[in-house]
Assembly symmetry: D2
Homo-oligomer: 155 residues x 4
Amino acid sequence: MGSHHYPAPELDVTEWIGTPHTLEGLRGKVVLIEAFQMLCPGCVRYGLPQAQKVHRAFPQVTVLGLHTVFEHHEVTGIDALKVFLSEFRLTFPVGIDRQDGGMLPVTMRKYGLEGTPSTLVIDREGGLALSHFGQLDDLALGAVLGEVIADRGEQ
Amino acid sequence: MGSHHYPAPELDVTEWIGTPHTLEGLRGKVVLIEAFQMLCPGCVRYGLPQAQKVHRAFPQVTVLGLHTVFEHHEVTGIDALKVFLSEFRLTFPVGIDRQDGGMLPVTMRKYGLEGTPSTLVIDREGGLALSHFGQLDDLALGAVLGEVIADRGEQ
Amino acid sequence: MGSHHYPAPELDVTEWIGTPHTLEGLRGKVVLIEAFQMLCPGCVRYGLPQAQKVHRAFPQVTVLGLHTVFEHHEVTGIDALKVFLSEFRLTFPVGIDRQDGGMLPVTMRKYGLEGTPSTLVIDREGGLALSHFGQLDDLALGAVLGEVIADRGEQ
Amino acid sequence: MGSHHYPAPELDVTEWIGTPHTLEGLRGKVVLIEAFQMLCPGCVRYGLPQAQKVHRAFPQVTVLGLHTVFEHHEVTGIDALKVFLSEFRLTFPVGIDRQDGGMLPVTMRKYGLEGTPSTLVIDREGGLALSHFGQLDDLALGAVLGEVIADRGEQ
């Protein structure tokens, strides 16, 4: 089933807070990526707490944050972000999406994300099983995770 | 995968409010059964609202209520139950678990339920994928549903 | 200030679960009355929990329930109500509003209540400081209680 | 009654975002001050939303924010704070508590605040009616506000 998902583009990250990851290196694992900005209310209120909850409750899922800054760059640099992650007790690795002078950072553009927070789920074959902008119900996210966790491909 | 679940015992229901169902007749479908009592606070606060939410959000899942009365029988009869279901806008079919004079009603005993609310998920082959007593996180329930929905057996 | 409130009509109650009360006997005290029906979803979800919270947090306030049944009388009699109060851990006294064959019970009519849940606050002089139908924000209810608790009249 | 409250120390603010205020200039009005730091989770989750709710629901109350930074100064300067206030739609004036090289900023020390968020309520005579550190129930805050709003002194 997972084999029918569109291939998830590789992350283009300039720096990691925590262990660095590539999607290629994570092949065979289920991955949840939370694309966020540290001063985005929806990210703080529901996107990041939900990602942290998955990180705690689903040991079979690799949870990553992706800091996709497209506004207020001057006050959301890596030093501010490190304080934010520590204060808000977010314990999964976070990559900084590459800025190349475009309006949106590179990975955000590759995925065609509409804004933050956006939640991505990537299956074991590297297919994009979910790309959701905005608040996402726990039941709905759980169902996507349950499906891709169960799907071990057609050996 | 579903084929590895323990077979779910058939429901023993004396009367239905709404369309009657048997697990045998539902083979091939994913089923969620919410075992409840109408004057049980946990049922009213989280068990039944969660079942109703699944009923609305997951058209691939057949949601049933099971009224497993083991106390206060005199004030939770079928007339009271009908009023309760209508007032609380619960729109899935509800079966009345058979009373045979034992401490617990028959289906409740067959499933070894510890109390109310209890949530049961049954896979397409009739296997019991989940039996949970008490509050159940939406993410966790979603994951079970996602897995059994995705599992179409080994053709 | 309280002296400017319209006088609250006396309760007309046929039976009490818990200690009986009259508004006349409570003169000098602040009173909160929660008018409810045991099978009314809004009562169960917010009206009664809020009344119970006031009962616990405000020792200066006498909290009473008033069972103002105007539908489904046959399944919400005193035996059912006693089970309901005990199961939902509601520990304040509850009076049964008098039925005289009218569409609404007597006290409910005297207060002109629009439905259940309705929250009434009565000041130390017996004036009606608040009559609110439906969900009531904790901040707003707290402000009314704070005002009438502080108001000790013009000695 | 308000006259019995301990006099609230004057604010020592180096800069205001929005209209500047002094407690002396606010004499005769009820004031709520939310002491916060922009990267403090409790401030973002409950302290500031509650202050904003009072700002919207109680036109008789002047709501002010006080940015009492005692850690992470380098990433919570006024430019970052302006972005934060705008993103989180906080519309009341915010003063920056004076830094004099001490461990805590000056106004925070004068009030003996234990941390952030802290909620202060000041009555019409400039008395400190409430100083609360941490999460504060809406019912309890409402009761304090209701009391000081009602108290017009002994003319």
